[in-house]
């Protein structure tokens, strides 16, 4: 089977460490396929998967929580089963945690950057940064402040460190002024960052002005 790639690659003269590892990864891919250990089609399918995942999936689940209290309770009790009701194929154990007027949740993986990609897309670069992984657990209010979010002193900031098999997602609070809207309209308020916990959802005004609900 012939194999075509459209990879970025280091020029032969490149000696910067960054380019060298990218090229090395390509070499590994080619060797594994040539040895018949991996199927090129399987790799390609996963590239397509990661290109197509997005926060819109999670936004849909959050919007349903806002309009269907019973669904929300099912999601909080067993996120995998409840997400399946929304046609979300949940491939690893998921736990949904709810922001309330008493608790604001923040998700991190201090040990390596685990993240619920299947639900909210690729993690932002900052989520994987050494700075976020270090400070989210010890200075969450400082981190939130950097992201422009000040949490009331009488609201608990609860940080979930994804240290094992479970992946965590935040159910952010429904914004004021969003009454009477459809689930599809509500989903537009739910951003990636609100499902990590570094931001609130967009307000109806912000959503109307925003060029993309995925910012």
């Amino acid at each position: 089977m012939s194999e075509t790639h459209t990879h970025e690659h280091a020029s032969p003269a490149a000696d910067a460490p960054l380019g060298a590892l990218a090229k090395r990864s390509v070499a590994l891919h080619l060797l594994l396929v040539e040895k018949g250990l991996l199927c090129a089609a399987d790799i390609h399918a996963k590239v397509e998967w990661i290109e197509n995942i997005s926060p819109a999936t999670g936004a849909r689940v959050v919007a349903r929580c806002w309009t269907d209290e019973a669904f929300k309770q099912r999601l909080l009790a067993d996120a995998n089963a409840a997400a399946a009701e929304c046609d979300v194929k949940v491939i690893i154990p998921l736990v949904a945690v709810e922001n309330t007027d008493r608790v604001h949740n923040l998700i991190v993986c201090t040990l390596c950057s685990c993240y619920p990609r299947f639900l909210i897309g690729e993690p932002p670069a900052w989520y994987k940064s050494l700075e976020y992984r270090s400070r989210a657990v010890s200075d969450p209010r400082g981190v939130l402040r950097e992201f422009g979010l000040e949490v009331d002193a009488d609201t608990e900031v609860r940080v979930y460190d994804s240290s094992a098999d479970m992946r965590y997602v935040v159910i952010p609070r429904r914004p004021p002024g969003s009454e009477g809207l459809s689930e599809e309209e509500l989903a537009a308020f739910v951003t990636r960052d609100s499902m990590i916990g570094v931001a609130l959802t967009l307000s109806p005004d912000e959503a109307a002005r925003s060029s993309s609900p995925l910012d």
Partner: protein, 102 residues
């Protein structure tokens, strides 16, 4: 002192919030690793994490997320006798000689 990857609570500076699009080679590493784990059973996720954690501290700090994945994948494949360093280096020379990847 905590291990290299065990960062929770360490002093750190401001978080760079700039968005950085994932590059094609990075997505390909993700796909190759996930295929190696779930389709081929060559490695498992815990081995991947362990191999990342074994990266020397200075390298760990300066390398990007998917660069660490690349190093870990290579280390594991060599450990398991799936590929050899000589094969990798030969492949790199072939890539250089062609001037493109195909």
């Amino acid at each position: 002192m905590p291990r290299t990857h065990d960062l929770g609570g360490l002093p750190a500076g401001a978080i760079d919030q700039a968005e950085h699009a994932t590059e094609p080679w990075e997505r390909d590493v993700f796909a190759t690793v996930i295929t190696s784990i779930f389709d081929a059973g060559l490695i498992n996720l815990d081995e991947l994490r362990r191999a990342i954690e074994d990266i020397p501290r200075d390298d760990y700090a300066r390398l990007g997320y998917y660069e660490r994945w690349t190093i870990a994948l290579e280390t594991l494949l060599i450990q398991k006798g799936v590929v050899t360093l000589a094969e990798i280096e030969e492949k790199l020379r072939a890539i250089d000689a062609r001037g493109h990847v195909a």
